[in-house]
Amino acid sequence: METNWPLYEVFIRSKNGLSHKHVGSLHAADAEMALENARDVYTRRNEGVSIWVVKAVDIKASDPADGDFLFEPASDKIYRHPTFYEVPDAVKHM
C-alpha cells in the first residue's frame, strides 16, 4: 500500500463580501497542486472567486468533549445581550 499525500482542507469565498467557507478536502503533493485540484473539483460551476487551502495537520481543533467547559463561560453572561437592558417603550431607534 502506498503512502498518502498530505490532506488539505479547502475553503471557498463564493463572492466578494462573503467569508471563505469550508467546502471539503483533498490530498495533494503540495499546496500549489491542492489549489489547482480544488479549482477543478470544488468550483466547476462558478462556486467561487477565491480559494484557500490549508494542510489539515496545521489545524488545531477544539475537542467536542470539552464543549461545556470551553463555552460555558459565555452562557451565563446574559448582560452581553441587548435584551438584558430595559429601556422605556417611548424611546425610538434603539
Binding site: 499525500w5 471539503g24 478536502s25 483533498l26 490530498h27 503533493a29 497542486m33 473539483v41 466547476r44
Partner: protein, 317 residues
C-alpha cells in the same frame, strides 16, 4: 460502563433532536463502521461508475453530446472525491480505501457491472441510473453524519443535469428513425430491472436497515424508495412512447402507485458476488488506471520535494 452509556445517551439525544454528529464527536463503534462501509461503497460506485460511460466518450454522436458526457463523467470523479473525503473524517485513510476497492474486498453498486453496448445506453443510464441514484441520495442530504450530509448536498446539486441529459438523449432517439426507437426501447429493456435492484434487497431481507434508520443514516426503506422511483419513472417512459419491460406493471388506485413484478434476486446476488457480465473488466480497468498513474504520482511527489528543498535553501541563503 456508566461513562459509555452517558456518552451513548448524549449521542442518541443528538440523533433524536435531528442534529448532526461531527467527526470528533463520540459515536458508537458500530455507527462508525456502518458509515465507513456505506460511504466508501458509495465513493467506489462513483469512481467505477465512470467506466461504463467512459466507454462512449470517444464515440459520442456529436460534439454537444461529447461535452455533456465528459462533464458528467468528470462530475462523477468529483462525487467520488467528496465521498472519500467524508469517509476519511471517520479515521480511515485514502490508500486503505483504494486498496479495499482494488483487491475486491469492497463492494460498489452492481449496476456498473452491466455493459454499455449502444449509444442509447448513455440515455438510459442518465435517465434511470442517475434517476435512481438521486432517489437514494436526496434523503441522504439529511443523514445524521455531518460530513456525509454535506457531501450529498453537493452531489445532489450536480446530479440533476445528469438525469436531464440522459432523458434528453432518450427523447431525441424516440423522435428519430425506427432504428433509433428500437435502440431506445432495447436500452430501457436492459437497464430497467438492474435500476430497480439499485435500491437493494427487499426490506424483509435487508440486513443493515434497522440500525441505520434508528441512527438516521437512512430515512426511508429500500422498498419505499423503489416504489417512489417506479411511480416517478413510469409516466416518463410513457411520454417517450416506450414500454416498461414488466407485464405485471399496473396502476393500483388504492395505493395511488404502481404494482410491479418480482425482481430477479438471484441475478442481483450473482452480480454482487462478482459474476455479473462486467465485474472482472471493471476491476481490471480500475486497477490498471491506478497502476498506470503511478509515475504521475511519483513525479508530483518528487516535484513537491524539490520545490520544498529549493524554498528552504533560499530561506537559509
Amino acid at each position: 460502563m456508566t461513562q459509555v452509556s452517558s456518552l451513548e445517551d448524549r449521542f442518541l439525544q443528538i440523533i433524536d433532536a435531528d442534529e448532526k454528529i461531527e467527526p470528533k464527536d463520540w459515536m458508537p463503534e458500530e455507527y462508525r463502521k456502518t458509515l465507513i462501509r456505506q460511504i466508501s461503497q458509495h465513493a467506489h460506485s462513483e469512481i467505477v461508475g465512470m467506466l461504463p460511460e467512459g466507454n462512449w466518450i470517444t464515440r459520442a454522436p456529436s460534439l454537444k453530446r461529447k461535452l455533456a458526457l465528459l462533464a458528467k463523467v468528470q462530475d462523477e470523479a468529483g462525487h467520488g472525491l467528496y465521498l472519500y473525503s467524508a469517509c476519511e473524517t471517520l479515521g480511515i485513510d485514502r490508500s486503505t480505501l483504494l486498496d479495499q476497492l482494488h483487491t475486491g474486498k469492497a463492494k460498489y453498486s452492481s449496476i456498473f457491472n452491466y455493459p454499455t453496448i449502444t449509444w442509447a445506453d448513455m440515455g438510459a443510464i442518465g435517465w434511470l441510473v442517475d434517476g435512481a441514484a438521486i432517489m437514494n441520495q436526496v434523503p441522504l442530504c439529511r443523514c445524521s453524519y455531518g460530513p456525509y450530509a454535506r457531501a450529498m448536498v453537493r452531489v445532489c446539486k450536480e446530479e440533476s443535469f445528469h438525469q436531464r441529459q440522459g432523458y434528453e438523449i432518450m427523447t431525441v432517439l424516440c423522435k428519430g428513425s425506427e432504428e433509433q426507437k428500437v435502440m431506445a426501447q432495447d436500452a430501457l429493456n436492459r437497464w430497467w430491472w438492474p435500476s430497480l435492484m439499485m435500491f437493494g434487497p427487499n426490506d424483509a431481507d435487508s440486513t443493515h436497515s434497522e440500525l441505520s434508520m434508528r441512527w438516521k443514516i437512512k430515512r426511508f426503506s429500500n422498498d419505499e424508495l423503489r416504489q417512489r422511483f417506479v411511480d416517478m419513472t413510469v409516466p416518463q417512459a410513457e411520454l417517450l412512447g416506450l414500454t416498461i419491460p414488466d407485464k405485471d406493471l399496473k396502476y393500483n388506485e388504492a395505493k395511488k402507485g404502481y404494482d410491479f413484478g418480482t425482481i430477479n434476486w438471484d441475478e442481483f446476488w450473482e452480480v454482487v458476488k462478482g459474476n455479473g457480465p462486467c465485474n472482472e473488466e471493471r476491476l481490471r480497468a480500475r486497477v490498471e488506471a491506478h497502476d498506470k498513474g503511478q509515475w504521475v504520482r511519483d513525479a508530483a511527489a518528487a516535484y513537491a520535494r524539490k520545490q520544498k528543498e529549493k524554498s528552504s535553501l533560499s530561506k537559509t541563503a
